[in-house]
């Protein structure tokens, strides 16, 4: 963010937990209701891809890093959540119709890395650059859409119900934790 030199700013507002809370919520939301409605009427689908990292505080400060094999549906992820850990980084997949964009989002500063917008199909370098810029712009707009949706709930009376639903989801066994069939 650009600001005038004489205007100091409190970068975090004492809310370091806001980013991890958002990403934890997004994990839950992507699992139960992955569709986000844009203002223009189009739909964005969010999916947690091949990477999920959770971290806690104090006794649970150890990091849980899950890679490949659908980490969002894993038993380890939910166990970490139950132990008070929150999501600090995740590989996300944004899907809009045929277009897919993947990125790794770090919760602390909403830093994006490994962003892969749809490959530009234009032949001319100028057009390719324009297409790439549009892809980056779209990526940040989609991120804003998810974050704005979160904030709308987070700053409303609906939050307690939403958080309770998230806790219930976290408490329920994952697909991996479901009891296996017994043989008599």
């Amino acid at each position: 963010m650009i600001r005038a030199k004489d205007r100091p700013v409190d970068e975090r507002g004492g809310m370091d937990w806001l980013g991890p809370e958002f990403l934890t919520w997004l994990w839950w939301r992507a699992s139960v209701a992955p569709e986000f409605a844009s203002a223009d009427g189009s739909s964005l689908y969010v999916h947690i891809d091949e990477f999920l990292e959770l971290k806690g505080e104090r006794a649970a400060a150890r990091k849980t890093s899950l890679r490949s094999g659908m980490p969002a549906a894993s038993a380890e992820g939910k166990v970490a959540l139950r132990n008070g850990k929150v999501v600090t980084s995740a590989r996300l997949l944004f899907a809009r119709g045929e277009e897919e964009t993947s990125l790794t989002l770090r919760a602390e500063d909403l830093d994006v890395s490994g962003g892969r917008p749809p490959a530009p199909d234009a032949a001319e370098p100028e057009e390719r650059l324009a297409s790439s810029l549009a892809g980056v712009r779209r990526l940040y707009e989609d991120l804003d859409l998810c974050y704005a949706t979160f904030l709308a709930v987070r700053c409303s009376d609906r939050w307690e119900a939403e958080a309770a639903a998230l806790r219930a989801w976290g408490g329920a066994p994952s697909e991996e934790e479901s009891p296996s069939p017994t043989y008599s």
């Binding site: 963010m1 650009i2 600001r3 005038a4 030199k5 205007r7 700013v9 970068e11 975090r12 507002g13 809310m15 937990w17 806001l18 980013g19 809370e21 958002f22 934890t24 806690g56 649970a60 959540l81 139950r82 132990n83 008070g84 850990k85 929150v86 919760a107 500063d109 909403l110 830093d111 890395s113 370098p125 650059l129 324009a130 810029l133 980056v136 712009r137 940040y140 804003d144 974050y147 704005a148 904030l151 709308a152 987070r154 700053c155 939050w159 958080a163 998230l166 806790r167 976290g170 408490g171």
Partner: protein, 231 residues
């Protein structure tokens, strides 16, 4: 911030454009065009792509390989010792020189070898894209490494005479909530726990809360008694 279509915008970029490393320099950085890292000839409007300004930060570094420097120092010292021994053999009766260099001489030698190595070392190059949206007062920098970010911050602030703040979740939240209560809406928000033991205070039954407070009071009383006994 000047508009990306403005001559002033181009002038500022040109003032801080990338200049290649001189023979003795170890590090150089500056702005180059987005499509060619060898091109730093900005023209008015050439960086503009719609409302967005696009250019790149180029950082060149030339580092002397410390292992190579040590090896060259060693060879040089050995050579000097050999020369000293040869000179002593050629002049019998004269005091044999030790062949050892003083601290200052070693330092001079190291400096000379470092400069020689620097001249012969090719620089490494990093190029990171910069996307600037002056209207939204937002700039996207295409690298997460700390040194690159620090260089970018310094150069950007010097170029445009502004400061940069990280777009943290809190800041983005304030911007997205503009017109919906913004800061006030966020200030009322308290941290939630999603884990098993993490019930918020309001979720803990009143009786349990009272019991917990009683236990805390008992513990405080007994510890102050224990301290009193010790005194």
């Amino acid at each position: 911030m000047p508009s990306v279509h403005d001559a002033d915008f181009t002038r500022r970029l040109l003032e801080r454009r990338f200049e290649p490393l001189s023979a003795h320099e170890e590090r150089a950085f500056g702005w180059v065009t987005a499509d060619n890292c060898l091109d730093a000839r900005f023209e008015t409007g050439s960086t503009a792509h719609g409302p967005c300004g696009v250019f790149s930060l180029r950082i060149d570094k030339r580092r002397v390989n410390s292992r190579l420097l040590r090896a060259m120092m060693d060879l040089e010292l050995r050579g000097r010792r050999k020369d000293a021994d040869a000179a002593a053999e050629g002049a019998p009766g004269a005091k044999k020189p030790s062949g050892r260099l003083s601290r200052d001489e070693r330092s001079e030698l190291r400096k000379a070898l470092t400069e020689e190595l620097l001249r012969n070392t090719s620089p490494t190059m990093e190029v990171h894209p910069v996307l600037l949206y002056p209207r939204e007062r937002m700039v996207l920098f295409g690298a997460l490494s700390k040194p690159a970010n620090e260089t970018f911050r310094t150069l950007f602030c010097d170029t445009f005479d502004v400061s940069l703040s990280t777009l943290t979740p809190y800041h983005r939240g304030l911007e997205l909530l503009q017109g919906k209560g913004g800061g006030e809406a966020l200030s009322a928000v308290r941290r939630s726990e999603f884990g098993g033991p993490g019930l918020t205070a309001s979720e803990v039954p009143a009786a349990l809360r009272q019991r917990a407070m009683g236990l805390v009071a008992e513990a405080a009383a007994s510890s102050s008694e224990a301290l009193g006994d010790r005194r």
